[in-house]
Symmetry: C2
Subunit: 485 residues, 2 copies
């Protein structure tokens, strides 16, 4: 394990985050929020000497190749330490008096979950609210780069097809490729952010609200600056803009890259995208009928507006709400419950199991059924016209199983705190799945403040586990990882 | 497809069931239950000419080899037609006035589920209650023979290891083996039934109650002749006897065969058995502490008695209750909820996913974690010292995925009837898993009478799906099955 190199990279990462903290610091200065201003400045000032020390003490190392093993540790520690640093402004400003709560909120931000311990959001300083939404945006960007450029090298994620193209696990070799890919992804992400912000302001939303909600949308995060979430604006324009951009953020960013380079045909054959959009449309229409039939909304159009928003929000694991869906008819709620098991696309900012994995398992199950009828037949699984290798299928099935185990384990831990089955199970679904709001005591009008401290720490871990595709974190926790060989 | 041969075998099966209906008919005669007596005799009388006709019209066929494809159809139709016939006594006697309800109750019996639509059990005629419990016992026996002797030939079930030993899919070749295996299994099943009945009578239970509860135990069914289920007797002796025999019924019957032939070492290395007993003990102790800490019971011993009974009942998918566990503390309930995802051992009368499949998936997930650390390593999955072939792993992972899909699909169907998430999801868990009682509106003191007719038909299908290891039924429903090739 190259600990000094890992510390080196982590230091750079923390410095980048500190640099981004200067933006809310500027906002604090502008609005005269003195306590918040210091809450941003102090952690930066404390970080700097340590960063300098660790940077220069590890600088002399010549060997700059990271093994996959180093990669797992680095990625896990990146989220853990970013949250530890990012929690300080909340804590020091007094916006969130307990560090446990501040850490939970920040981990929820960087993992783009959107589960909040805040009971009243609207009274908080602008700088603090901005920072809260910015953690989403940074976390979302981090995840796109990670899943598209880094995870395939580690063999993780729904996009192992790319693994064959990757040149190998040496940083020297992959750096140019990662840097180049990351730069393009960054521009796409930034471009979509600018467009959504403009569209929201065009609908009459002020710049601050537009920016923060765009951060929450593009990262499929879900933090809002309003107590009533997006429902606060009660605007069909706002709802449809955010619905559209949640769906866009839940798509594989590689597709935008292909769009820019004119590979339209590649996009049209993309199995995951077709399944993702089909699920979105089918679930939206099903819920619309349930809502209109039960008299929750009077017209199909109005029902569709709320249904499509909520389906997009849950399917992409964003977690915004325009109404209290926990009060919807049983069938509408069950469809949302189903969406919680799916998640966004691979290579998007969305969390959850991911559509591509579910498609793969359906294909696997279909193949097994066919094999019972033709026991001597040979059936390959194909995705986007490419044959899926057996080892990739194993990684995917192992993932989905571990995801289920993580769900049930989180359910048990929450229940140990004394909560009912529905609260415990839906808390597990929406933290491991990085969604945010669930049902019952974690419903869309509720928050996570009431949980015991140790449950909040465990849920922070559950959010991290889900966000880093389970394997990354679990690998680091196995005894094999720490054995010298 | 050899339809005439399939009809031939089905006819024999229905005649066997009709023969067993003579036992409750005798009980009806003894107790002077005239309406019930006719309710058993009439279906037999109607069946006989049809049986004779179909038997002789198909008798001339010389080709007696059944393909695996014929096997899938035969097994599925066996449960469907046995339930159709077995429902008549309930319906004709007036014990269950609607045929939909009678069919549900009978399918619940033959699939050893134990979900009941009866609101008051104790007022029913002895003959009807005996027949109700006998459907469990017959269904349990059918499942043991099926999973140990027939499914391996079809490539289904957790016991594909046996497939290699099987001589091939021709009835002529396999008949001696199946007949021989079936005979031994029958004797083991009968022997355990006799011992449990004797032990229950020794505890002061009358012969009728002892026999019917033994049927429900050995089949891991769960139908009781008392409204309060086993809790009615309020006897530690009865509770511990039934706990022990539920656990015995949830073990692989091959192990008893090995015990009889002195292969003790084979039993001791059995991974599934060790995991199964470990789960039972760990869950029992965890629930005991939860019950005692929350003051539900005063002593560890008393808590253990209720905890062990309920864990055995849910884990083995029996469904008996000695108390209303839906009123237990949150943590105790969640542990039971977890047990609902596991099920008994392969080759037992228990339903659910089965311990061996869950063990396999844990091993698979562990291997994937290891492979991230040693990407060039080759790791074989082993079970009982034997390497698991890749195609067997695929069958297992496909199974678990389809099981989850079946759970969620059943949840959606039930919710469509207007029921809450917990009722819908736990109804799915306990019907697909062949358990019986769940939580909320299908809790242990509740019943299934309130569901709409179409939901009862769907749940009958869900019980069948789970009982026949998903694949058997699904294969028959695919278009590939009906294509000529």
């Amino acid at each position: 394990m190259k600990f000094s190199l890992i510390i080196n990279v982590l230091t750079i990462l923390l410095l980048i985050i500190a640099a981004f903290m200067l933006i809310p610091a500027g906002i604090a200065l502008y609005y005269g929020e003195t306590a918040s201003l210091w809450a941003f400045i102090i952690p930066i000032l404390i970080l700097l000497p340590f960063a300098a020390l660790s940077y220069f003490s590890t600088q002399k190392k010549r060997d700059k190749t990271l093994s996959p093993r180093d990669g797992f540790l680095l990625v896990t520690l990146a989220w853990v330490s970013a949250s530890a640093l990012g929690a300080f402004p909340f804590y020091l400003s007094g916006a969130i008096p307990a560090y446990t709560d501040a850490y939970f909120e920040t981990m929820s931000g960087f993992t783009t979950t959107g589960a909040s311990i805040l009971t009243a959001i609207e009274g908080l300083p602008y700088s603090i609210l901005f920072w809260r939404s910015l953690t989403h945006w940074l976390g979302g960007m981090g995840i796109v780069v990670l899943t598209v450029a880094v995870f395939p090298l580690l063999g993780i994620g729904g996009m192992q097809l790319l693994k064959a193209e990757a040149p190998g696990p040496s940083v020297d070799k992959i750096t140019p490729k990662i840097t180049q890919t990351a730069k393009i992804l960054w521009l796409i992400y930034l471009g979509l952010t600018v467009i959504e912000t403009l569209l929201l302001t065009a609908g009459g939303m002020n710049l601050f609200d537009s920016l923060t909600h765009t951060f929450g949308t593009m990262a499929t995060g879900g933090f809002s600056v309003k107590n009533a979430s997006v429902g606060h604006y009660d605007s069909a324009w706002v709802d449809w803009v955010i619905t559209t951009f949640m769906i866009l953020a839940g798509m594989n960013f590689i597709l935008y890259f292909k769009l820019l380079t004119g590979k339209i045909r590649d996009i049209l054959v993309d199995t995951e995208m077709k399944a993702y959009l089909t699920i979105f449309l089918a679930a939206s229409v099903a819920i619309t009928f349930s809502l209109v039939n039960n008299g929750v909304y009077q017209s199909f159009n109005e029902g569709l507006r709320y249904a499509a928003f909520q389906v997009a929000s849950i399917l992409t694991t964003t977690g915004y709400a325009t109404t209290d869906f926990d009060l919807w008819p049983a069938f509408a709620k069950i469809v949302l419950f189903l969406m919680m098991f799916i998640g966004g696309s691979a290579g998007s900012t969305g969390g959850g199991i991911k559509v591509v994995r579910i498609v793969t398992l359906f294909k696997l199950a279909g193949r097994e059924l066919k094999r019972f009828i033709h026991p001597r037949g040979v059936f390959h699984l194909r995705l986007n016209h490419q044959v899926l290798r057996n080892d990739i299928i194993s990684v995917i099935t192992g993932f989905v199983f571990l995801y289920m185990v993580a769900l049930l384990a989180t359910t048990v831990v929450v229940a140990f705190g004394g909560y009912d089955i529905l609260t415990s199970f839906s808390t597990a679904l929406v933290t491991v799945g990085n969604i945010g709001p669930g049902f019952s005591r974690v419903g869309p009008t509720m928050n996570y403040a009431f949980f015991q401290g140790w449950i909040k720490w465990f849920l922070s871990f559950a959010m991290l586990l889900g966000r880093l595709e389970i394997y990354t974190v679990l690998v680091v926790l196995t005894p094999w990882f720490w054995k010298k060989n």
